[in-house]
Symmetry: C2
Subunit: 134 residues, 2 copies
């Protein structure tokens, strides 16, 4: 019953290996892992948004974390920041093509989540029930 795994196994496409500490792709995983990165990418996926609009859209994010997350994404070339010298100042955020492609990958995760929440909750119930009397 193990054969199918070896058939499915596709070796990594490049000289990279996420499992290695030294692999730069690890950083990508770390960034994606940051608490709000995914939600910001998904939020901007629908189009340009201003700071306060983005903040309103993402329930529960604080101003500090939104700023911090946006800076990180900007630094990595995933988000473009445009300042308009109005009074008061207007700042727009946008996905770059690179950010858009990562956003698409995140959207796969979102869809997965929507589809499998039920399974996960069921598993949790089972798990709790099995470990209740410990």
């Amino acid at each position: 019953m193990l054969w199918y795994r070896y058939l499915m196994e596709t070796s990594p496409p490049a000289p990279y290996d996420v499992f290695k500490l030294s692999c730069p792709s690890r950083e990508v995983f770390v960034r994606v892992g940051e608490r709000w990165t995914g939600l910001v990418l998904l939020g901007l996926r629908q189009g340009t948004l201003r700071f306060s609009q983005l903040r309103r859209q993402i329930d529960g994010i604080s101003q500090k974390m939104l700023t911090q997350t946006l800076r990180g994404l900007e630094r990595d070339g995933l988000v473009a920041r445009t300042v308009y010298p109005t009074v008061p100042v207007t700042v727009e955020y946008d996905l770059t093509p690179l950010g858009r492609s990562l956003g698409d990958a995140m959207d796969v995760l979102r869809t997965w989540a929507y589809t499998h929440i039920g399974d996960i909750n069921a598993a949790r119930q089972t798990y709790e029930a099995a470990n209740r009397q410990l």
Copy 2:
């Protein structure tokens, strides 16, 4: 130049909305965001592994974090844990079908990372250069 976004926009497939604090899919995002979750899923994607094998594979993970991550994944029905009463004890970890499907989604991210590390590093250089004299 905005029309294409609206054409691409596909509304969420269900009564879920990640942006809402109350949405259970947020928990999925949080779990995926946990530092080591992705790597463990990717590690087990290649087949059954024992605790120490998994630990060796994932460079830099501590024993504590591996245990903790595995417990969480087990609780959510993503990983199956099998104990063989040998001496000393043998414990095998495996992806469940659910875990396998999430692993596939994570692999999309891995591939994305491998493909775009260069772009990200370039963006970082640009960013640093632009902000050097501040």
